[in-house]
């Protein structure tokens, strides 16, 4: 059922996805989908928790080393997830649903807040750790949007190591609590 839900949300977006189609894809009764997951937004929550799983390892990346190279580790990890065509398509499907629909945005926001930002902020010994880790994340989100989604040149074709070298210091400053 989860695989059918992920496929349906990826193909049709949150708005257009139907529990009936998910049930058909899983070859079960629609009532069973509802029984297991509840309403559409809860099915979506379960689907994106799986699709977003690669990015959810970011807090482990933050923990796996000292604070000095944190910006570089996190930048390399997040851009690495986007470099992979399979995980890129999964993230892109989530972004499409979240920018198109307020409920999908709220479900994604809860996932990002509880499973990603709160955990990363908990590792930081700086003022305003949540706000600063969100600004660091914002930079990486924006680079991903322009490089992998809108594909603006020269950023889209720039060498990954050059991009990491130019972005990591800004991410590091946010996470270190610098001005």
């Amino acid at each position: 059922m989860l695989a059918a839900a992920r496929a349906e949300f990826a193909e049709r977006g949150y708005d257009k996805a139907s529990i009936r189609a998910i049930a058909r894809g899983a070859d079960v009764d629609p009532a069973l989908v509802h029984h297991y997951y509840g309403p559409k937004e809860q099915i979506f929550a379960a689907a994106i928790a799986t699709d977003f799983a690669p990015a959810l390892e970011a807090p482990d990346v933050v923990q796996a080393g000292g604070p000095d190279a944190l910006g570089e580790r996190l930048t390399r990890f997040i851009l690495g997830v986007w470099e992979n065509p399979d995980t890129r398509e999964q993230l892109l499907a989530i972004v499409r649903s979240a920018v198109a629909n307020e409920t999908a945005a709220a479900v994604f926001r809860d996932l990002v807040t509880t499973r990603l930002m709160t955990r990363i902020a908990g590792e930081l010994d700086i003022p305003d750790p949540k706000l600063r880790s969100e600004l660091a994340a914002a930079h990486l989100v924006g680079v991903a949007m322009l490089r992998y989604v809108i594909k603006v040149e020269p950023l889209a074709s720039a060498d990954l190591e050059q991009v990491i070298a130019m972005v990591a210091p800004a991410v590091q400053r946010h996470l270190a609590g610098d001005a």
Copy 2:
């Protein structure tokens, strides 16, 4: 016709928008829409050139002062465009079409490249001016995504001046060509 096209693309997205519906909205024959604008992607180009017009003033903002406070001027200007509910909806409609459809992304990319990034890069006396102005833009795009679209807290409710104060130095470093 342009107003009808903007309304149709905003409401239904690039994929679903039809020339027939645009013609109906403008109370003209579909052949006339095609005669004036050509195929759908050219109508979309004309529509987003109007919807994206507020952001296209950014190069003037870059020019209107010295290089030292450039990051702060540009950050204040772009977040100001997003703070306005009307222009926010226009930008959001473009983002929705561009993340959902490759052709719409290409049309938006051309607009951003020729009317925004090339002009801003032309004002900068640094190495890799295009790449660096795109990284500065990426940071602002990401802040807009998390603050105004996904609405992650505390960033979504943070005081605008605090956000500008925390983001502008990173934008400034990109535009000044610092590491």
